[in-house]
Symmetry: C2
Subunit: 239 residues, 2 copies
């Protein structure tokens, strides 16, 4: 919303900006493909997501298991298998990145009312390969993990978003939308038919947000999951 | 169930087997990886599935679009992307198949109370590459299409079943279970963490069947889908 300009300060008095000055701070954002060097950050983000969902006791991921499964030797091209976009944040602009035939990083910026206190700033300093160019000012703020799915009715692939996460101190600033948009734009670019994800039925705020962006919530479908001992038992009694 | 033996026929009378004689017919089944030669059958199966679901108006798949997306040039190894198992049926046993480094076909058999009338027998004659060895007696009865998904909490891939379909005249004989088992066994063999699929919440029979096999139905999660014009609009207003 546009706010009326504050009255000019009395002549000679020191200028103090009001706390909510919208011209105060700009946060620059970059979405790029994650690499194996980002695994320690991805692991920390997944662990924080599990704590947020009160499911930390179910989170078995280790840096080693993530590295092995997300960044195997001879990896397939991005977007053909499990793919991670990392959200990086900086208070100085990102330099233009060289054209990348796999994925051109997406640069945006958002205006902050107040600077953000990040209690884990040191732990989340980016491991970007261009960190020497960027300086040491780039912080990892979140991630999205997605992979192709397929619709037989459309006879087209789509993209399925398994997880999308923004660190707590950076929430409610539109950063989740920047991550989601990056995946949707990639799907459109590849001519894919759908982007899908899941939401908890009691998360009314999220459902409203998704409906406003044009997504349909499918009311009748339920996910079935065979896992753990039940999977092993079924596999071995039916072979 | 074991049935009491029928009394012996009077001496000299012709032996007529009762209609429900369980020793009458054996249907041999084979699960194998589909190839591009199977696309016409896969297309027909998808169309029959759409008609069964009363969603034929939403089915845009053509043989060409299926061939392009399921069997692209330089295909990735099976199970790393979209994968189709075909269910083949024959009244004569399948010969042992040579060891295949990608996937060894799964051979089973089921006992029928009565022979099955298949009104589309001619249209579904198998295009198996070993059809010359097999003779012309092999019929395609169904398919399952699946692909890898990923759990960040487990840091492991899983398999997601997009569609499983058995032609109408072959239903209620355990053939769907044979297709499902093949996918579950493959997941276990690869050390994957989960097999997942979706079910309509009013399909009580299916839910009971899945729960009896050890699957959990997740009550709270809802699928969100961005597709068609809404996907294009969102992609282009956010780049």
């Amino acid at each position: 919303m546009a706010a009326a300009a504050p009255p000019p300060p009395p002549t000679g008095a020191p200028i103090t900006l009001p706390e909510s000055d919208p011209s105060g701070n700009t946060l620059f954002t970059r979405i790029r493909l994650a690499t194996v060097y980002d695994v320690p950050h991805i692991h920390k983000l997944i662990h924080e997501m599990a704590v947020f969902e009160r499911l930390a006791h179910l989170c078995e991921a280790t840096p080693e298991s993530l590295a092995n499964t997300l960044f195997p030797p001879n990896p397939p091209p991005p977007f053909t298998s499990f793919t991670v976009f990392l959200l990086e944040l900086s208070y100085t602009p990102f330099p233009p990145t060289p054209q990348n035939e796999q994925f051109n990083p997406i640069l945006k910026s958002i205006h902050l009312e107040l600077p953000i206190e990040d209690p884990e700033r040191e732990a989340f300093r980016s491991k970007a390969i261009d960190v020497n160019v960027l300086g040491n000012d780039v912080i990892v703020g979140g991630f999205v993990l997605f992979f192709p799915n397929y619709s037989t009715f459309l006879a087209k692939p789509g993209l399925y978003i398994e997880d999308i996460f923004v660190r707590e101190c950076y929430r409610r600033k539109g950063l989740g939308k920047i991550l989601l948009s990056a995946v949707v734009s990639q799907a459109a670019k590849m001519g894919y038919g759908r982007v899908e994800w899941v939401v908890l039925d009691w998360n009314v705020n999220a459902i409203t947000f998704y409906e406003q962006m044009g997504a349909k919530i499918l009311p009748e479908w339920r996910i079935c999951r065979l896992t753990g001992d039940a999977l092993q038992a079924y596999a071995h009694t039916n072979t």
